[in-house]
């Protein structure tokens, strides 16, 4: 029942090692809200770019005839984790949460679990 701003703020403060988080509409590529990031890491650009990642994966699944839904996508860089969590919800608009983690300060299993909880707080 939180506002998007408080939910994103909670993600940034409560998830160990989180440096940025965004709520993204993947059809338009628009970030509906962002928190964190830096001058050198523009979350709006990351949001728009990662919609292509999600779309490519969905298309591949269509090709393969896989019926399951994407729960999350993990991208591992040398110093960061990028976690994309698809929001289920009734809105059906195709939203995802995008979380950037510092690889040295984070606990991936815990972060996935916490992101799931934050998704349920926004509950579209």
């Amino acid at each position: 029942m939180a506002t998007t701003e408080t939910a994103l703020k909670e993600a940034l403060t409560s998830i160990e090692g989180a440096t940025g988080v965004a709520l993204v509409d993947y059809t338009s590529g628009m970030a509906l809200g962002t928190m964190g990031g830096s001058k050198t890491f523009d979350l709006n650009i990351a949001a728009a770019g990662n919609t292509d990642v999600v779309r490519a994966k969905m298309r591949t699944m269509e090709h393969l005839g896989l019926k399951g839904e994407i729960e999350d996508i993990l991208i591992t860089l040398s110093s960061q984790y990028h976690l994309i969590r698809m929001m289920k919800g009734r809105g059906g608009n195709g939203l995802f949460l995008y979380l950037v983690l510092d690889i040295n300060r984070s606990n991936l299993a815990m972060a996935r679990h916490q992101l799931k909880r934050i998704e349920s707080e926004i509950e579209v």
Binding site: T3, T4, E62, H63, I122, V124
Partner: protein
């Protein structure tokens, strides 16, 4: 004599020609010059443009509406986020005080985050169409407030930036804007294997009559999102815009017929009748362009 001859051979001075791209940018490509001024003066009221309206409060965008897009009520009620009775009750109870949004959250009908997300989606969707290039200048009425009340105000710069980004996104997918407004036809070629489930729902409604806006309303999806699907399907060669009917050649064209053939195809109800006269539209475009200099 010699001087006259040299005068004749000298080419006349070049007429000043405006760079068309730059002129378009100044006149209406840069979204709306008026909107920028209203943001600077922290205005409150409603900006009515040809294809929609933007509501401002203290220079920030609080709501947007366009006849081309499904409204917030449609988006909220279509999938059971909110029931229709709950929406009607809220409008009845808090519409007078312009606090429908707050009422919906405080009465527990919808979560604050869910309302924000749906409202932002509807706001940017309507703003995209309200800020589309138009043949007539917008006008601003000071003091008007929308009955929904503030949900999450957005800076004007963010709305302008997003609108331009969306235009560029559509252009990248498929540069021809014809499928945005024309009735859509299945092109008869077998569906590309890359058609997604979302796009299948769009394809199922293509029948040679419905436009992208009709399909968006039928599916209760944001209209811009439907344009993204429609342009992707057009790029894949699965659908095509229906060509406008050839103008009648029998009788001398009455004024209404000429306005129909010169105006771009638009979904019914988007153009107020006062803008239908091509002469008035031309004069207004001229005034709009001059004002924007």
């Amino acid at each position: 004599m010699t001087t006259l001859r040299t005068d004749l051979t000298t080419p006349p001075p070049r007429l000043p020609v405006r760079d068309r791209a730059a002129a378009r940018q100044r006149a209406w490509g840069g979204v709306s010059p008026m909107l920028g001024r209203l943001a600077t003066e922290r205005a409150t009221g409603v900006l009515v443009r040809e294809r929609g309206s933007l509501y401002l409060a203290d220079g920030e965008v609080v709501h947007a509406e366009s006849p081309a897009v499904p409204g917030l009520d449609v988006l909220l009620t279509a999938r059971g986020t909110l029931d229709a009775a709950g929406w009607r009750d809220a409008v009845g109870a808090a519409g007078e005080r312009s606090r429908v949004g707050r009422f919906l959250v405080e009465s527990g009908r919808i979560g604050a985050g869910a309302l924000e997300v749906c409202h932002l989606g509807a706001l940017y969707d309507a703003a995209y169409f309200a800020l589309s290039p138009s043949g007539a200048p917008g006008h601003f009425t000071y003091g008007d407030r929308h009955w929904l009340g503030p949900v999450r105000p957005v800076p004007v710069a963010a709305v302008e930036h997003e609108t331009l980004r969306r235009r560029a996104l559509l252009h990248r997918i498929w540069p021809d804007p014809a499928p945005d407004s024309a009735p859509l036809l299945l092109s008869g070629s077998p569906a590309a294997p890359t058609v997604t489930a979302r796009q299948h729902a769009v394809l199922a409604l293509v029948n040679g009559v419905r436009t992208a806006a009709d399909i968006a309303l039928a599916l209760a999806r944001p209209a811009f999102h439907t344009l993204v699907d429609v342009r992707r399907l057009a790029a894949a060669g699965v659908i095509a815009p229906k060509a406008p009917p050839p103008p009648a050649v029998t009788a001398p064209p009455p004024p209404s017929a000429s306005s129909v053939s010169s105006a771009p195809p638009a979904p019914p109800g988007t153009l107020p009748p006062s803008f239908a006269d091509p002469n008035i539209t031309l004069l207004k475009r001229l005034r709009d362009a001059l004002e924007a200099l």
